[in-house]
């Protein structure tokens, strides 16, 4: 009930305030869109690690840019949440922002047409990630040390953009084909094909470097 003078008790969070940790992602997004910072912080805690992982693997050869992309994406999300109407999952909406921001940065940095046939040049030795660590650029050494994920990180950086994005969203973020299609602005059929190619190429690399 309102306070005795009928004025809303704004500025303080009452025990009767709807619980933030129990709310779904979309309910949090709705409340964050109307200025609920606690709801935004909860949403951030849930989804930030995934967005950072996505950007880091997507821009595997430039971690500084990946961090900038994630920051820019969350700033955009905070500003655009008042216009988010919940027609899609907020997770796919956020990953769409990250993907577009990353693609935009990549185009600005390298004035080449983004084409699935352009292979990211692993051989040039610039495929680095902060995650890759001491075995940077040496997939055989990584394989021998039993740290298969380092080998996989290098192999991922070789994949064309769309294949890489499809693989990360499916295998690391556990998204459905239709959710990936939403993020990449394509169709589930295209996603299925891109994933098939990505898995095959990665399996060949893993075996070649064994």
């Amino acid at each position: 009930m309102p306070s005795h003078d009928g004025r809303p008790p704004h500025g303080s969070r009452s025990a009767a305030q709807p619980p933030v940790p129990d709310a779904s992602d979309n309910a949090l997004a709705r409340r964050a869109g109307m200025g609920d910072r606690a709801a935004f912080e909860e949403l951030f805690a849930r989804l930030f690690p995934g967005t950072l992982r996505f950007a880091t693997h997507l821009l595997a050869d430039d971690t500084a840019v990946a961090e900038d992309v994630v920051q820019e994406s969350w700033v955009k999300a905070w500003q655009a949440l008042p216009d988010f109407h919940g027609t899609a999952k907020v997770q796919t909406w956020l990953f769409t922002i990250v993907q577009r921001t990353a693609l935009d940065r990549r185009r600005r940095r390298r004035p080449l047409a983004v084409d699935n046939e352009i292979l990211e040049p692993l051989a040039r030795g610039s495929a680095r990630t902060t995650l890759a660590g001491e075995n940077d650029g040496d997939p055989e050494r990584a394989y021998l040390s039993g740290e298969l994920w380092r080998t996989l990180t290098l192999a991922l950086s070789e994949l064309p953009w769309t294949q890489r994005a499809c693989w990360i969203l499916r295998e690391l973020e556990d998204m459905s084909y239709s959710e990936i299609a939403h993020v990449l602005d394509t169709t589930p059929t295209v996603v299925r094909g891109q994933l098939h190619r990505a898995r095959r190429t990665l399996a060949i690399r893993m075996e070649q470097w064994r």
Binding site: A27, Q79, K89, R197, M206, E207
Partner: protein, 185 residues
């Protein structure tokens, strides 16, 4: 499928797939080494970013103030969500004229199945009025056309219409679920 990378001689694809599966499991467990540091910075920057808003007039002792729709939205949502049983705010829309007078307010509600909608609507109107009064001053209706002006523009808030619109129904508590969550279930 055309365009697939051919399997090179001496490469056993099945073994590569097994290696890929193991590597994928490892990669899922890898944490970015600076995730906490980056998260702190990104959250601070995001919450400091300005949002677009409009301004509306509010009462002041000798003149008027201008208040952002962001502030009014936040207070309205918090007040309604706190006190409204079985309903949560979906969206809040303002109709503001060129003189920054608030002409109409529309509050979209998500109502839990089984809630009495008319009573909820009346209660939402009452709560919205309390919140507006606390921020802008007591809303007064505009005089009917042709009856002369009983309130000057500087006297503050002239709210002509307040709509409450029930836009969707949820099975669960609408404060913690969204209609879209239940659509997908």
């Amino acid at each position: 499928m055309s365009g697939l990378e051919p399997v090179p001689d001496g490469v056993e694809l099945a073994r590569g797939e097994a290696g890929l599966a193991a590597a994928t499991r490892q990669l899922r467990d890898v944490q970015h080494p600076r995730v906490v540091e980056i998260a702190d910075r990104v959250l601070t920057r995001a919450l400091a970013a300005p949002r677009r808003s409009l301004l509306m007039r509010a009462h002041a002792p000798h003149d008027y103030l201008r208040v952002s729709t962001l502030a009014v939205t936040a207070v309205l949502r918090e007040h309604l969500d706190l006190h409204l049983q079985g309903a949560a705010v979906g969206r809040i829309l303002f109709d503001i004229d060129r003189d920054e007078q608030l002409l109409a307010l529309t509050i979209e509600l998500y109502v839990q199945y089984g809630t009495v909608i008319l009573e909820t609507g009346d209660r939402a109107r009452e709560l919205a009025r309390e919140a507006l009064a606390s921020l802008l001053g007591e809303p007064v209706p505009l005089p009917a056309p042709g009856t002369g002006s009983s309130t000057s523009p500087s006297s503050g808030v002239e709210l002509v219409v307040s709509h409450v619109h029930v836009s969707d129904v949820t099975v669960g508590d609408p404060h913690v679920v969204d209609p879209a969550d239940e659509d997908r279930a």
